[in-house]
Subunit: 346 residues, 2 copies
DNA sequence: TTGTATGCGTTATCAG
DNA sequence: CTGATAACGCATACAA
């Protein structure tokens, strides 16, 4: 008993100060006078683990705890080709829309026993491809991606065939497993909201390189007279430039995402005659801002939940692959006080 | 020539449709009639690669390209114990402050040839420990962490000894390599700013479980009469509750971070007599908000750059470990229009 | 029920 | 300059 305890203490100390390399299956096999396979089976649990003598099972478990054994996941992955890791490759992690989704996806995945590798392409197709290559080499089990490229071929170039994949927020022709919002519908709602307060002329800040944005822009353009149009990446600066380049004064400024709206707002000086701003997914909601705003809000929790669900389905039913159909969610319109105070014209 | 081309095309096709397992060193060794070691050396480049016959080098390179060889990073990591991956474990990725840092850290790391694994503890010490364990088992090369625990022992419990580590935003006694802002100094600046417009009584929403927040709260409390105080996690909801639980009306409401400030703002209904709000790192800056705001802004780019710098130093000088001293940055005060419009009282 | 042997894809050691 | 061969740590088919 004493020797056992002192042993425990010794190992505990050794472990705590971590003077030694981490324990492996071999160590604990030696320690229990059994073989690696037995140890592996015991620690694996499940079916295989239960077919083991109860006494040896005990000894192995004890020794494992004693030595502070932690399985080397790299080795395990090399052997089993499963990393229990999925990657989320977003276009701009600094955007609250994506970071909120990231947070939720991580939570959801964590519950299912998967860990998340969050990557950021920064809206740069090249960085995106670099990451896709890297991820392929790292044996991730699944992939959620907000694509910056437009065609299936470009995207699939560096994605291993058969890898569970879900597209998020942006659709790509020929890829079924994806989840996004109905941009036309929500834009129409947004347009109606603007119409209601008498908007006739608009300026648009749009990032045509993003399908989602292009649809938003085109759909919106069909409703009003576009007197100004700024194109660029879906980032704050494009919004700024959109405002600066304004020649005439539109009834409303449309920004195809929140970042660009932030840019516009940053430039607005004249509070007394603010333009109406319409945008998407403004986080947090600018309720008290003295600028009339109408916002199409996507259902972020649903987006996150659904794309994890689709991914898990592919991860379970091994061979299911890319079948199934896209999940299309719908957005809702939120207006702030300043907007609600606007006179409605019929 | 023809046969060579058709071969190339064949492999290209085979690769493109990815019907076969990814090529390994063995494959390309067979294909070039050499050995794995030679191939490995050639592809490794550097010192070892140059000591190889020029003709074989060529053949190997060709074959590698032909077969579309990509090194299996899992195998490489298992062998070399280096993953070229560092993890950033933040307390709340949904917070723009941290996601902005994450974005910059990722960029910076990517340039240095490292990829980032972004993890989220959600301000939950248990999740934090789980991730630390997991990361240790995944052989990451370095770790940047925004700790939710307070003592060195708690933190180090699941961090392999000797692993390059940098603490971000929150200091822990006994750990040198860390980068954060001088909270006392910036809070004093913030307090002076408030003093200038005649603030005497304050309400505080603080997350005492976070050192950074506690310092902010205590420092601020020394300047004014605290007539109300709400404690909770550093999240939006704590801010909401802080406002709701208000009994008397303070001159200003202090929120020890942006999320809580968002919560407060969300609850404010009476625009005509808004309280002053003082907080930290509000992103984006609410210039036009009709609520007087004073904000201590940390230098996010510097924070990100510096913590990568410290990490890289540890990664290069193998044995340097935790030596060196903390980097303490300073914040600057930003006020919005509504605040600037306030009458200054001396 | 348990042990032996083999392989995952690389890098590193040691001969030639 | 190059080629066998042994690890890395784990899982598993096959024997016993």
């Amino acid at each position: 008993m004493t020797s056992k305890m002192s042993l425990a203490i010794w190992y505990g100390v050794a472990l705590h100060f971590s003077c030694m390399k981490p324990a492996t299956l071999v160590d604990i096999a030696r320690h229990t006078k059994t073989s690696v396979s037995t140890v592996s089976r015991v620690l694996a649990g499940g079916e295989v683990g239960r077919r083991i003598g109860h006494d040896t099972t005990q000894r192995v478990r004890e020794a494992a705890k004693l030595l502070g054994y932690r399985p080397n996941l790299i080795a395990r992955t090399l052997r089993t080709r499963r990393s229990h890791t999925v990657a989320l490759l977003v276009s701009d992690i600094a955007n609250p829309f994506f970071s909120s989704i990231g947070s939720l996806v991580e939570q959801s995945l964590h519950q299912q026993g998967y860990s998340l590798m969050l990557c950021n392409s920064g809206e740069d197709p090249q960085r995106e491809q670099e990451y896709l290559q890297l991820l392929a080499q790292k044996a991730i089990d699944g992939l959620i991606v907000v694509p910056t490229v437009h065609t299936r071929n470009e995207l699939m170039q560096n994605i291993p065939h058969g890898l569970p994949l879900v597209l998020l927020d942006r659709q790509v022709e020929g890829i079924n497993s994806s989840v996004y919002s109905d941009q036309e519908a929500s834009t129409n709602l947004l347009a109606q909201t603007l119409k209601r307060v008498g908007v006739k002329t608009i300026a648009i800040a749009v990032a045509p390189s993003v399908v989602t944005h292009r649809i938003r822009g085109e759909t919106m353009a069909a409703w009003f007279e576009v007197i100004s149009r700024e194109e660029g990446p879906p980032l704050k600066d494009t919004g700024r430039r959109a405002f600066i380049h304004l020649s005439a004064r539109p009834d409303a400024i449309i920004c195809t995402n929140n970042a660009m709206a932030d840019g516009v707002i940053e430039c607005i000086a004249d509070i007394n005659h603010p333009p109406i701003i319409a945008t998407y997914d403004a986080l947090p909601v600018p309720h008290l801002l003295p600028i009339p705003m109408a916002i199409a809000m996507q259902d972020i929790p649903a987006l996150a939940e659904e794309c994890v669900r689709q991914l898990m389905r592919q991860l379970k039913d091994e061979g299911y692959g890319d079948a199934g159909c896209p999940t299309v969610l719908s957005a809702r319109i939120v207006t702030n006080r300043a907007f609600d105070a606007l006179p409605t014209r019929v």
